[in-house]
Amino acid sequence: MRVITAVIAIAFGVLVLLGYFLPQELFPNAAGLQAVLLDWAVILAAAAALIGVFNLFSVHTEKIRRRKKDGIYSALLVMGLIAAFTLGLFLKPQHILMQSILLEGIIIPVEASLMGLLAVSLLYAAVRLLRRRADLMGVAFIATAALIFLGSITLPFGDLPLFGTLIRPWVSQVWALGGARGILIGVGLGALLTGLRVLFGMDRPYGGK
């Protein structure tokens, strides 16, 4: 069974990859076949979304059943899930009630408040960083962040001279951008080789042993 799954996965992976590289004039069906396979993948992903929601549901109902700590939050989640699913099924997601109450009244404000919480968490993390790793990299990290902040803020007496016009652009466009490009090249190479390992069946995140 695991050989069959590996053969199917590798064959489909190679077909999709070839669709990007084979010239259209010589292989007119390659791009079409790739599109069909990607459409199938999208349908499977939609089915996986339903399974994912069911997984979320089963994990939290199990927590309620076993009366685990913080089970009340699991109960709230399950009730919210059932209510949103039922309303969405009958009213459709574009309905004004769904948009104004569920999306604009609950989901967006909750995510915005988490974003606000994140700002405080990051400030606290920066303080912890100096306590945990007071080495050259830690100090450089905090100093860079401080320089960028000083170049971005507007003070009652106006902008700080040089910070907004010279130092911030120099740090962000030369040092930070150069570093980010280096990291992204490394990440791109890593992703390429990891993808090839999966394509060749050296790594198999599917189908058993």
């Binding site: 992903a45 994912g52 685990k68 913080d70 988490l114 994140l118 990291i183 090839l196 058993g208 042993k209």
Partner: protein, 243 residues
Amino acid sequence: MIPLTVLLLAAFLLGVITLWKRRSPGSLRQIPAFTTLARAVGLSIEDGKRLHISLGHGGLFDGRGGSALAGLALLRNVAERTSVSDMPSVATAGDPTLGLLTQDTLQAGYQAAGVEDAYVHTMGRVTGLTPFSYAAGTMPIPQNENISTNILLGHFGPEAGLLAEASERAATTLIGATEDIAGQSVLFAGAQEPLIGEELFAAGAYLNSDPAHEASLSAQDLFRWLIILGLLAGSAAKFMGVF
């Protein structure tokens, strides 16, 4: 033409170096995060505590899939090694397709360890389908599920700060790696053991000592040297007014 050449060269190097590494395994430089991770796997079994592996919310249909696959390679290894523990590892994902693969990978680890019956499907969980809902669904796990070490390996944006905060509150060790630049800077500040850039993709080689994983690291190094030489040659050519 250039992408196809890079792809074919990468595939060739991966194949050749894998064969070479099978005969003569190489040595790897020390990365503190992987030393901590290897220790955490052993200690979790002795302490009767769990590991939590968080694979992020990167889907498999876009450029973020590479980090998700790297996370799955690590999960496979950790699942096999901790499957005999009284407190087995828990894995979370923020994407449904990744969630399915998480369960499949965990099950494969249990099968490989010969304890398939001990596998429970709720060990692999989808905790939310958007970045912040995923973070909100994952935050209680370090506090409530007797976790000793949190491993974040996959696609995380700035919301990784919330997971780092939750880990800190639960007094657990946090090892974090992501391919996202904003997420990396957040994890550099928030994690005890951050991994930078392509170190994310080295987890399999450090935990597994597998020739294919080691070969992919060597191939990455070769490509890096080629890029450095290309950049230097391009700069010199520009300086001399060739273009």
